[in-house]
Amino acid sequence: MVSLHSYLILSAILFSIGTIGVLIRRNAIVIFMCVEMMLNSVNLTFIALSKHLGNVDGQIFVFFVMTVAAAEAAVGLALMIAFYKNRESIDVEDVKLMKL
């Protein structure tokens, strides 16, 4: 039996890896994958807590998060393609037309 604690620590680690990935990676698609990882670590938190509390709200929340993540992926990849068509790159270093 894996304890609630282990699940929460695992999801916190995954969330941190995702956050760090967003901050240090330069490829827009990799950044987006890191964001997805953050969302999935949240899903893991929800499910572990839902099981622990004996309350289904958390599991329902996970369905919504997955749906939203799918919609976000569709929109995000479309935006990246639009950017790529104009700039031939999806490196966020190239997203710099507007600066202070």
Binding site: L8, V42, L53, D57, L79
Partner: protein, 484 residues
Amino acid sequence: METIAIPAINFAPIMPEVILSIFAMVLLLVNVFVPSEHKAYLGYLSLVGLIVAGFTLIGGWGVPLSAFNDSVVRDNFSIFFKGIFLLTVGMSILISDQYFKREECNLGELYPLLLFATVGMMLMASGTDLMTIFLGLEVLSVSLYILAGFNRANVKSNEAGLKYFLLGAFSTGFLLYGMALTYGATGTTRVVKIAEYVSQNGVVAQNPMFVIGMLLMAVGFSFKIAAAPFHMWTPDVYEGAPTPMTAFMSAGPKAAGFAAFMRVAIIAFPSLKADWSDLLWILAVLTMTIGNLIALNQDNIKRMLAYSSIAHAGYALVGFTAGNAEGTAGILFYMLSYAFMNIGAFAIIVLVGKKGEANNNVMDYAGFGTKHPVLALAMAVFLFSLAGMPPTAGFIGKFYLFSGAIKAGYVWLAIIGVLNSAASVYYYLRVMVYMYMKDPVEEFDWMKLTPAVAICIIIAVVGVLLPGVVPAFLLNLAQQAVLL
């Protein structure tokens, strides 16, 4: 495991959302059959949808009603905010057609997307369950990512969309993690039940899971309302997005963010008010100061207004910090008047701009006052209101926000707010100096005042001046709508 009780279905509280969703889906279908030079008709159709939704909205005033197992509520608070959203979207639609025709990306998808964004904002304002609030926020955000990058051929618009998307999705992660941890600590996602749990189990306030959850949610919401230090996306997105969409983004989603943030903070965590007030105090001061200071040396007028919108979020946070009836009523009033003055200013920017987002610098307004005295006067009214000078709605709103802060004992916060407001006069007046005191460089002969834009500007001028002179009616409404 408990079983899921299927709640009785009562559509009355979400009638405006239902109507707008149906309109949006119908428009998506109709769009296929409308030739590209007549896309404006889709705009008029969506205006009809907004008006119908508005009528169903008014009927609910003063009759609170909750539905779907208490996950949405129709109360005066949400109705007031929904009114702001309808107005914001309506005015943005009025200025859209001319702009998108000029930019040659007159695509019909614009209007359904705007309506879906409105549905999202409305769910944020009326959601009383973290799940509903999250869904509303995402419906809004996903539509907004597309709207920011709507002008596919323009690189700046691409950048705005991509940047908004990456940072928005990033911040959603924080918000969600906060919600998950709060759920874990309190065992529920209902906002009211969280409050019940916290008041019955005071020790939860020491539970690190709960505290981190609350903080992460605050981070997520701060991002959405563009509060410093989570404001970095704002200037780039506002500058790059198509101008009518910038107008929409700066007024509507910001108000929606405040609605959700206030609902969660005031209803779910009332017993921890002292803690989150301290947090908001810091946010308010940072947001006002950073917004105003950086706005001082901006040449691009859209970017300048982006920083100004950060500063305005800071003023609203002052009322939020106060947390009393006066401060929160001030936020409602201010969000409404901010919609009028900001979209009015953006309507003028749409008119003055040229194809390819050109002519958007403050210097390009040289001599505008002599060439187009009436439009320049309207712009002056909007800028005066943004700067918070009487007799405009901006002044009354700021007055209420700051007096709420003083009544709650935050005298220093009010002083910092007033000083900031004084500093902001510089960059608003700079535009006026160019309009009235410089010799015209250009003839402004490309400008074409279409009836739709004229109507938008008239609504904005009336909306700025009327509450500025006789504020009682709107203030009464705002006071009836506060959550406390």
